[in-house]
């Protein structure tokens, strides 16, 4: 009781002294993120990364002398729900910025809320190009992840390296992300290797519980290699059903999966059922087997390990971490929490991340983030597949239109 009374007195005193009161105020970041349903697999680690960034920044005195505060809401990976909680965060909780969402359904929906309310919104995961294309761009939207065009180029680059491959099949989930990504891979492959033919395209639905018919149909076309956009839980199902059918053996493990199945989350879940030998990608391989791990990454992983109490912390955390760091840098550069000023500061800004420097493109407000690609191999030191010699791809990217 005494303590509470003391606090009340202190806050009364402080509020009569405007400058100090201001310093005690936090900078509020609304964080709509899927925490239930299948997409929570991404939402949870992204949130952890963001929380780590906030705790580190606050431990170092915050931003402009003020602490950061995350206001987390479950967006349920649903555009309507994401919009509802974002509006609530702005109107009721008075957040200064929005960071969050995972799917390409949520992010563009929240982007319109950000535009209406003139509040800076950074999307850490969504990859659909429509988020920042010329029809949808506005001063307040920023993206820190890769997009499907960038991923398409990177994956086509990997496939093109298999010189003896003449026929390629594709399999991807039947919705915007899968369709856009596969289209981008095919378009880039046509440029890089005009001799390669696309012999089969399968479109199972998202959350497909049984891929068997899609797999056997694809095998009947006898492709030399496969471009796969199946990811997360669906990839576990797909891999476990495809292996005993002889699918990976038939293509000699020449598959590029662009859906981020090189993550710790994925390899941990699949264990020894992982289709060793395929090429996978991830925003952060977490484990560097080759020993050329960037020192800033090692430092980040050590902190993340301590924060999550996991020996092998999740790959997706890095997107939450680097997005909050970018926002903090933007606020510092702007010298204010006014969204117009922060937007101006972010455009063209270069910032440090555990996986290298990134710059927000002036026209598209995104970093065209390359991702790590590599062959997934078994190593005695780990109970799951690890990425051999992670390589950032594409090496360079020039946006069209």
């Amino acid at each position: 009781m005494n303590c509470r009374f003391g606090l009340a007195l202190a806050s009364l005193l402080l509020s009569s002294w405007p400058l100090a009161a201001n310093a005690a105020d936090t900078i509020k970041i609304g964080f709509p993120i899927p925490l239930s349903g299948p997409v929570a697999v991404y939402g949870q680690p992204v949130l952890k990364g963001a929380q780590l960034a906030v705790s580190q920044i606050n431990a170092n005195g915050g931003v402009l002398g003020r602490k950061l505060e995350l206001l987390v809401r479950d967006s349920k990976a649903n555009a309507d729900e994401a919009v509802r909680v974002s509006r609530e965060l702005i109107i009721k909780d008075g957040v200064d910025f929005l960071v969050g969402t995972v799917t390409s359904a949520e992010a563009p929906a929240v982007s319109t809320v950000a535009k209406e309310n003139k509040i800076v919104f950074l999307a850490p995961v969504a990859e659909s190009t429509i988020l920042t294309d010329p029809q949808h761009i506005h001063p307040y939207i920023f993206r820190t992840n890769s997009n499907t065009d960038v991923e398409g180029l990177a994956s086509a680059t990997e496939i093109a390296r298999w010189k003896d491959v003449k026929t390629v099949a594709t399999i991807g989930p039947d919705y915007a992300y899968g369709r856009d990504l596969i289209a981008a891979v095919v378009a880039n492959l046509k440029k890089l290797r005009p001799d390669i033919q696309i012999v089969d395209q399968q479109w199972p639905k998202l959350g497909e519980p049984d891929f068997t018919s899609f797999i056997t149909a694809q095998m009947s076309k006898k492709p030399d290699a496969v471009e796969c956009a199946v990811f997360a839980g669906d990839f576990i199902t797909f891999a476990k059903e495809a292996a005993p059918l002889g699918y990976f053996k038939m293509i000699d493990n020449r598959m590029v999966d662009s859906g981020g199945v090189g993550t710790i989350e994925e390899v941990k879940a699949l264990g020894n059922d992982y289709p060793y030998g395929i090429v996978a990608n991830t925003e952060d391989p977490v484990i560097w087997t080759s020993g050329n791990e960037p020192p800033e990454h090692a430092k980040y992983i050590a902190a993340l390990r301590q924060f999550t109490h996991e020996q092998y912390p999740p790959s997706w955390a890095v997107q939450g971490y680097l997005t909050v760091s970018a926002l903090a840098d933007g606020i510092r550069k702007a010298g204010s929490t006014n969204s117009d000023a922060v937007s101006k500061a972010l455009i063209g800004m270069t910032f440090d991340t555990p996986i290298g420097k990134r710059t927000f493109n002036v026209k598209f407000h995104e970093t065209f983030q390359p991702e790590f690609y590599g062959t997934m191999v078994k190593e005695a030191a780990y109970p799951f597949a690890v990425m051999k010699d992670p390589e950032l791809l594409p090496q360079s990217y020039t946006p069209t239109n």
């Binding site: 239930s36 349903g37 068997t212 009947s220 839980g233 990839f235 941990k268 879940a269 020894n272």
Partner: protein
């Protein structure tokens, strides 16, 4: 199109079908006897999958002990079903169907969040039992042993359920309860116990199918909702409450999906939903159901 290719498409369709039947059979059973549309059936399936994963971790974390895990999961979910019936469903009989629907939907949300609380949001996976991890060559196609096992277990369960309903005393009671519950009660039968048993069997089947899919499917939050939609399609195609209807509904669903993707490769969902739409227009009570 070679005949071996057509055969492998057929087997692929059959695998899909038997998985769906395992899940849909319990759903159909509870509707047929108790007239309850149990949305939470998919949640029991999900709990079965998580329990199987948990049991594998306890028994033998490197992949053995799968069969014990299946038993633990199926019995565990069966008990959960019995408990749910005793505590909650009991007070809903005879009320409007809307209340039952709302209640089972509430169960979906509660069990979904409970699973998230206990097992987190990470995707989980269970390896196939070593004895069934390989595959065999049939007609020049590669057939995984595990899916052959599933294809065998589907009809076995259908037959066992048919025996239970048509050749046992308990089954006779169940069919009587379906026709006139009050009369059966008046004749001195313990209808309450019959219903609890019925519900437990249905939940057992859900738990069993949840556990049996783990070697070829991922365990993720939301798997409950994804599966219940498909199970409902199968039950609607076959006819609500008809066991064989559900069986053939599953077979048709599997084959239409499997061969549909050959005809309309870009539209995997089209054929299945088109089929359901046609059946609903021509025979609203389903292929094997009776007009209401």
């Amino acid at each position: 199109m070679s005949s071996s290719f057509l055969f492998s498409q057929f087997m692929g369709g059959l695998t899909t079908a038997m998985f769906l039947f395992l899940i849909a059979s319990g759903l159909s059973l509870v509707f047929g006897v108790m007239r309850i549309i149990n949305f939470a059936h998919g949640s029991f399936y999900m709990v079965g999958a998580y329990l199987a994963w948990q049991a594998v971790q306890w028994v033998h974390p490197t992949g053995g002990g799968f069969w014990l895990a299946v038993v633990i999961a199926a019995v565990g979910v069966g008990l959960l079903g019995a408990l749910t019936e005793r505590l909650f469903f009991r007070s809903l009989y005879g009320r409007e169907e809307l209340y039952q629907l709302l209640f089972t939907y509430a169960l979906v949300l509660i069990l979904g969040d409970a699973a998230k609380f206990v097992w987190g949001t990470d995707q989980l996976s269970v390896s196939a039992p070593p004895a069934l991890a390989g595959s065999v060559q049939i007609f020049g196609t590669t057939q995984p042993l595990y899916t052959l096992f599933i294809i065998a277990i589907g009809p076995a369960i259908a037959f066992a359920l048919w025996l239970l309903l048509n050749r046992t005393g308990a089954g006779r009671m169940l069919r009587a309860a379906q026709m006139d519950r009050e009369m059966l009660d008046a004749l001195g039968a313990n209808v309450g116990t019959i219903y609890t048993l019925m519900f437990a069997v249905s939940a057992f089947l859900a738990g069993l199918s949840g556990a049996l899919v783990t070697p070829i499917e991922s365990i993720v939050p939301g798997m409950d909702v994804l599966i219940i939609v498909q199970a409902f399609i199968v039950v609607v195609i076959g006819g609500m409450g008809s066991l064989w209807g559900t069986f053939w509904g599953s077979v048709i669903y599997g084959q239409v999906l499997s061969f549909g993707i050959l005809i309309f490769p870009g539209f995997s969902l089209f054929s299945v939903f088109a089929l359901m739409a046609v059946i609903l227009i021509v025979r609203p009570w389903g292929l094997f159901g009776r007009p209401l």
